[in-house]
Structures are given as C-alpha cells and as structure tokens.
Subunit: 392 residues, 2 copies
Amino acid sequence: MPLKGIVVVDLTRIISGPFCTALLGDMGAEVIKIESPASGDPLRAQGAVKNGLSWYYALFNRNKKSVCLNLRKDEGKQVLAGLLKRADVVVENFRPGVMDKMGFGRERLQQINPELIYSAITGFGPDGPYAQRPAFDFIAQAMSGFMSLNGEPGQRPLRDPLPITDLIAGLYSAFGIVCSLVGRIRSGGGEQVQTAMMDGIISFFSYMSANYLATEKLPERSGNDHPIVAPYGIFKAQDGDVAIAPSNDIIYARLLEALGLEHLGQDPRFVTNESRMRHRSEINALIEEKTCTRPKAYWIERLNAHGVPCGLIQNLAEVFSDPQVLHQQMVLETEQPDCGKVKMTGFPVKLTNRPCRLRLPAPALGEHTEEVLLNLGLDAARIAALKAGGVI
Amino acid sequence: MPLKGIVVVDLTRIISGPFCTALLGDMGAEVIKIESPASGDPLRAQGAVKNGLSWYYALFNRNKKSVCLNLRKDEGKQVLAGLLKRADVVVENFRPGVMDKMGFGRERLQQINPELIYSAITGFGPDGPYAQRPAFDFIAQAMSGFMSLNGEPGQRPLRDPLPITDLIAGLYSAFGIVCSLVGRIRSGGGEQVQTAMMDGIISFFSYMSANYLATEKLPERSGNDHPIVAPYGIFKAQDGDVAIAPSNDIIYARLLEALGLEHLGQDPRFVTNESRMRHRSEINALIEEKTCTRPKAYWIERLNAHGVPCGLIQNLAEVFSDPQVLHQQMVLETEQPDCGKVKMTGFPVKLTNRPCRLRLPAPALGEHTEEVLLNLGLDAARIAALKAGGVI
C-alpha cells in the first residue's frame, strides 16, 4: 500500500478531519486517532446506531486505531509529544488557536519534530477576520455562495444535502498532505498544510466563478436546467423519469436521431446551443413528446447506444443494488467485533498494484491505547498509572 | 514546490481530467496538455469568453503547457510514445477502451515506461455493465442517488449546480496519483489509478449512505432542514436572512442564551436533539420571533461571539468581495498574453514551505509544441515536417 508505514496522529473529530485521515488510512497509513477518554469522537453517538455502533462513525473511522488521551492533563500532553516525535503527519480540525493553547502550536511542533507534516483544517482559514468564528458545514455553504447557486429558480437558496464543505476540505487536506510527503521525501522538512471549508467549496465553482468574474453578472438558480447547455434535464418516459444530457452539437444530433426527430436538425430555433438555450422550453417539450411514449428502460438503452448520456434518477436503495455500483465494489461489508456485520461505501480511488484495503474495522474507544503506548516505550506500570489518573 | 520536476502528460479535456491536472500543476508538476491541432480542448469555447479567452478554460488550465498533437496519425502516436517514455504520470478521461484503440492500452504503456503512473477517470469505472455508456456529470448525479437527496421536500429531485461528480473524481484522481507517486518512490513501479464519477460522489454520501445501509430506510429530501440536527436553517432577521447551525446541545444552549431564550432550556419539547427534531417547526418559530427583531449584522456578531455558527447567505458578488475570502487569496488575478487580465479562484490547499504558485497562465493552443518537441530531441526540420503534415 502506498502509504504503508506513514504514521498519522489524528486529533480530529466529526467529519472533515476524520474523512481526511480515513482516506490516508485506506491508502495504508497507520492512523492513530486520539479520543477523549470520557466519550470519544461525538460521531460515535450520531446517525443510525446498530448493536451499539454508529455506522456513520464506522464509515469515517475504518482503518484507524483509537487511543484515549486526555489532552487537558500535562501527562496526556507528554504522551502526545512522544507520539508526535515519531509521527510523519498530524491532522487537526480545531478552531485556530486551540493547538497553541494546548501547547502544540506550529513552532512547538517544529521543535518536537522538524519533519512533521502538520495539517490544519479550518472553516475559514488560520487567520483573517472570520478565523475565530465557529465553523459548521451549513454556514460555509451559506457564506461561500454555494447556496445562492443551488435550488429551483424563483425559490430560496438551498443547502447541499451532503456536508459538502467538510468533505471537500477533508479530501483537499489528504491531497495536500500527500503532496507535502512527496516534497519531504525529495527535499526534506515538514510544513503546515492548510485547508479551509470555505476555500474548498469556492474552488469547486468552476464555470460559475469564471463566468461571474468575467462578466460580474450574478448566476441565477436554474434548478435542473444547465445554465449554459440545452437541452438537458429530466424528461418523462411512459413509466417514470429519465435524465438526458447531450453535452454538445454532435451529441444533440445523435439525440435527435435516437428520438426520430432528425427533421429538427435544420430548425433555426435549435441549430446552436445558444439558440436552443433561448428556446429551451420548446425543445424540451418536443423531446418529451417522444420520450413519454416508451418506458424508461427503452430510452436508456436506445440513447446510450446512440452515444447520448442518459440514465435513471435513482434512490439509495436502487444505487446500492445497482449492478455497476456493486461491480465497482462501492458497498463493503465487514465484521465489527461485538457489533455484527457493518456495511459501508467502498474506495473511490482504485490503484491496480497497491490497492486500498479494509485492514481494520472502526476501533472501539481506546481499543489500541495499550498497544500504541507500549510501542512508544511506556511500561505496564506507567500505563496503569496513567489509566488510574484518568489520562488515558 | 512539492511536485517540481514531475512530468504529467495530460490527455484530458473538459472538466474532470483538466481539474485533476491543474491541481498537479498548482503543486509544481510540469503538465503537458495534449490538444488536437484543429480546435483543442472544447472548453476553450465554453463559458464567458473575454478578449478571445474563456475564463473557464483559463481557470482549469493554469500552470500547464499546451502541445498540439494529432493522435489519429501514426506520427502523432510516435511523438506521444516519446513523451510517455519520459513522463511520470499520464492522465486521461476518455471512455474505457479509447486508449486501447489508440494503441496506448495498459500493457503498451507498461512496455513504454514501467514506472509510469496511468490515471484513468471514467464515468462508471473501467469495466462492468455501464462502462461503455457515455458519461456526463448530470447523468452521474442522477444515477448515483445524489439528486434523490437534493431539493425541497415534496418537490422533484434536483441537480447540484456545480459539475460535482466531475470535480470530485478529478480531485480523487489527483490524490490517487500522488499516493501512487509515494508508493513508486518507496518501492518502485507504475500502476493504474482508477477513479469514476459515480464512485466519487457515492463516497461523499457520509451519514446518508451509513444510515440507509444500517436501516434500509430511504432518506427524504429535506430542503434546508438537516435530517439529523435541529434547530438548523435559515432564519429571518430584520433586514434579510441569516444561516444558523448549532450542531449539538452545548451550542444549542449558547444559542438560547444569545437570543435571550434561556427559559426554553427546560422546555421538555426541546431538551434533546431528538425532541427538537420532533418539534422542529415550533423551535424554529420561537427562534425566528427573536431574530426578526434585529438586523443580520447584529445576529452574526452576537451569535458568533457566543460560539454559535452563524453567517450570511452570500451571492457570488458578496463572496468575491468578502474580506475573509480575499484574505485567503481565493481570487487571483494574472496577465494573460494578448487577452489582458484574467481573474480566477485561488489555491484551496496552502502549504507553508512549498506553496502553490501561478507559474504559467493557461496556454494558447499549441503554445509549447515546439519547446516540448525540441526538448524531446526532435530537430527543427522534423518539427517543420510534422507541422506541414498536420500532425502538430
């Protein structure tokens, strides 16, 4: 596995940070998740809990070890310093300044381990006017402009149903950490990797940001209409809806052929994407007049055979029994000690020679405390004393 | 820069692939974008075009070199083979099988350069029942289940306004490539990195997938309500809306305090998140009764000072003049030869010692053909012959 032997000290909780470190763990890193002895990561109590296990926690914490450590106590801090000395990476998603207050600011980390890569995931960035504000996905979605883009025309701004700003920041953090590792292998030296929930989602605005910055015209919410492509959208078939998305003139011509609408090819209202944008409702109506005469399966087969992107609008039950999704092993099942089987989504990046594997189920709280501290050189008596003192 | 000297041959077009290689270029890789001599990447003609430049193309192709190469001609393929021999990475986002038909399938690439990391971004995966279907972001959004989650309750499934499945797949591809680079540095050997638009978005379903897999209950579209947290949402202030998101009981208590609603702390309808979920409209109404008495700015300052996540719902004009966004350098401005200045979103990952830089503006079509071919050892006469033959 590509990150085998890379040691990650994981101080994160909830979503963005644990997602980042799960991605590193999936790639083979040894992820040591530090949790408070009292209750651990709050995610342990969130989402559907089955046989005492949150499947949400299980998904975000696979391939990790759990070590209990009370970081408010000096002895806990000493243990952490010892772990950081031997680590390659530390990841945290506290509010800026919390690490400093704990005595683990950038300079101290540099002293402890000059080769350490230190990833900080924040809502807004490590400094600047909003740095001290508490962050939360919904707020980053609102402030970043994302919600102003999402939703139906004429209706209110709408959140993304996924904690999208957490996830993008977590994935960028994982990318940045591995880039920094390459830099360190080649030229030495640790550094800080900064990712922010706001910055991540803004970097995803693609043509929306490019067009706004070029024209200073605000994009309007367009629902299922694509703001720069037509036709495109959801169309009624005889027994339900299909999604159809011809992305350019060539594929549009194939769509007309597949529908038996070749005569529209010369219609001046529809000759260019621009003219089709102006006559969007007319071209959509002409397409739907055809699609509603036959069932979904017919159109999905026929349009795809003609090279026109077309698919079902699936719900999660359909997705997680879809033959392609299963073929891609996007549903994993594993045995969780004491909790029975657990299912979770699979690995989104597939390396042919060094593939991701489910090496460890999500850990019980503190499951690896003793193992990790023994490896660190603490003896059994010391570990017992730390336990008695509520440090671990 | 961490990827300095890493050579990426970029066969991609449109979104997912160019996004991936732009991320590698931002980190210092030498990205050689191969474009067809006739018209190049179709993105050059998409989005708002200013002084002959698509700002959309400019954003997705910064930090790259452009080489024209006709890959339908044998001589073009010879040049490509020469480039691949010296490259570290090749990235493509063709439909599965296209590389094989061009004569650059996995085995051939392995022969040309056993150390080559070969990233293939597809819609559905390299094989399986849907592998040969044409892919498009909208279809992946529909089939993956994303659209079934997005939207208002009781209304139709809704697309993400961003080409989200392209972008996630591109970012995962960049992450996978750099992981594979670490693996290669440490143990040698190239391999294939596979990412699919469907797999990427499915891996983002987080508690939605975890809860569905645990309970087999389909999530309903919940608009701006969070399906497992209350209160949470958009609230009217005197002069507009604010987003408020207290994520747990502690922050909920702070919210009550900030609003002067401490007496609700003992109200049995609202004592736990679960009970607040059942009485969501009541708690929301009580909150809004307070928020509507004062302006937005008042609440944003007051709630954040109390540690309650709260922010404006901004549009892109507000975002791109927001002091925090500017502080984070999320708007870059550069001079584009012959096209004047161009603005684009900034770098979402900030490395303190090896930072991303805008080294090269997006290239003119074929701008670096001669430079790259000379470097490859072709002489001026050979280059002139290739040009005359329509190969470059």
